[in-house]
Symmetry: C2
């Protein structure tokens, strides 16, 4: 239950000054989040904040049709539910665990108390919110303008940055949902990238072979979002 004694891979927590971190530390605990776990659905009261050390959490917008499409992702550069540190919040989206995560967990109650006392934490929350908003509006444009292949590549790159491996566990069906397209389209695109030697895949596993080439296939949105985070959360 004491996060300060281990390496803090979460960059948000790592950037907090010592005294501010001391307000949070007694209430943090490390949890392992297994793949596929549902953390909240739209309308749920947010009562816990997660700071991932690794792995990916997806924010998904639910549609009436039952479709659930990814609208943003959270990794070690951010936190899930952080806006609720400011005051009570209902979730706007579904949050599910994309890849197995180790994350620091804290109750909204405790982080709100720290938020009231710590200007540094308030500032961090604000900048995180801004970065997440930037992420979202870039995705609005990306989904309107860019091909499935470019978005597929962008998704792999974003995921690759957040796990310490060239191997990503994911099925094509799952990725099709994330991107909001048909599975057959994902199959076709994946085959194309494999033929070019950029990725290799089999049943539920994708290996990234040539990351540099993947960046060439991806749209600019990958870099834009990444730079937004770096500017706002150095």
């Amino acid at each position: 239950m004491d996060g300060t004694l281990q390496a803090l891979q979460n960059r948000l927590l790592a950037s907090l000054p010592r005294d501010d971190m001391a307000l949070l530390a007694p209430h943090l605990s490390v949890v392992n989040l297994e793949r596929g776990r549902l953390l909240h659905d739209p309308g749920d009261k947010i009562d816990t904040v997660y700071f991932p050390h690794d792995g990916v959490i997806s924010l998904m917008t639910l549609m009436e049709s039952g479709a659930a499409i990814e609208s943003a992702t959270i990794g070690c550069e951010g936190a899930l539910g952080l806006m609720a540190a400011v005051g009570p919040r209902q979730a706007l989206s579904r949050a599910i665990v994309q890849t197995p995560c180790k994350a620091e967990r804290i109750s909204v109650h405790h982080i709100h108390e720290a938020w009231e006392r710590s200007p540094a934490l308030r500032d961090l929350v604000d900048r995180h919110t801004e970065a997440l908003f930037g992420h979202a509006i870039q995705s609005v444009a990306c989904n309107a303008l860019h091909s499935v292949e470019a978005r597929f590549a962008r998704w792999l790159l974003t995921c690759h940055d957040r796990i310490s491996s060239d191997r990503i566990a994911l099925t094509q069906e799952f990725l099709a949902d994330m991107l909001g397209v048909q599975r057959t389209t994902v199959t076709a695109v994946a085959r194309g990238l494999q033929t070019k030697g950029i990725i290799r895949y089999r049943r539920g596993v994708v290996d990234i072979i040539d990351r540099h080439a993947l960046e060439g296939v991806s749209c600019e949105c990958y870099g834009v979002v990444r730079r937004t985070y770096e500017r706002l959360l150095p």
Copy 2:
């Protein structure tokens, strides 16, 4: 320069308690924003906040290709640049005036001072940010999943809510940019809606004939975003 003597159509300002409003009022001034005016571009330091009384301001994400696609809109239910009340901010998007607006204008310096003193204003800013984020993630999904016709209808409805007229001045070319599609596609969709008696248009002007039918053509995203604003900014 005294906004308190006239009807406050901007719902954000109208919801502020009297004492909190008194902190802002001396620094507010009404401005007329003409159609097409550029208020900021990505990277610009935000130095002014606008609270529209009517009309629409569009937030547009700029791409390397030169495309500028709409990622959110601001009307009388919100404000432009409000996140900067919390602290210095760079714009993430282009903001342009979509339809002629009357808006209250205040410098970031002055609204930040009020923000420091007024818990009600701080709360308002936070809820506005949350609503705008909800708007953005809904648009992420909408652009991935919904047809141009549905998004066209959604756009008209959103605009219609914010101007006190059934007549909207806009060219098809302009709307094509907003939606991130070809003009010829907009022409085809507009013709379809006119044939059905839902809208009528000519050179740069669209009349909404049957709003109820337009809601049927639109996707659910119109209502979802609207309800998000109503919940967070009553």
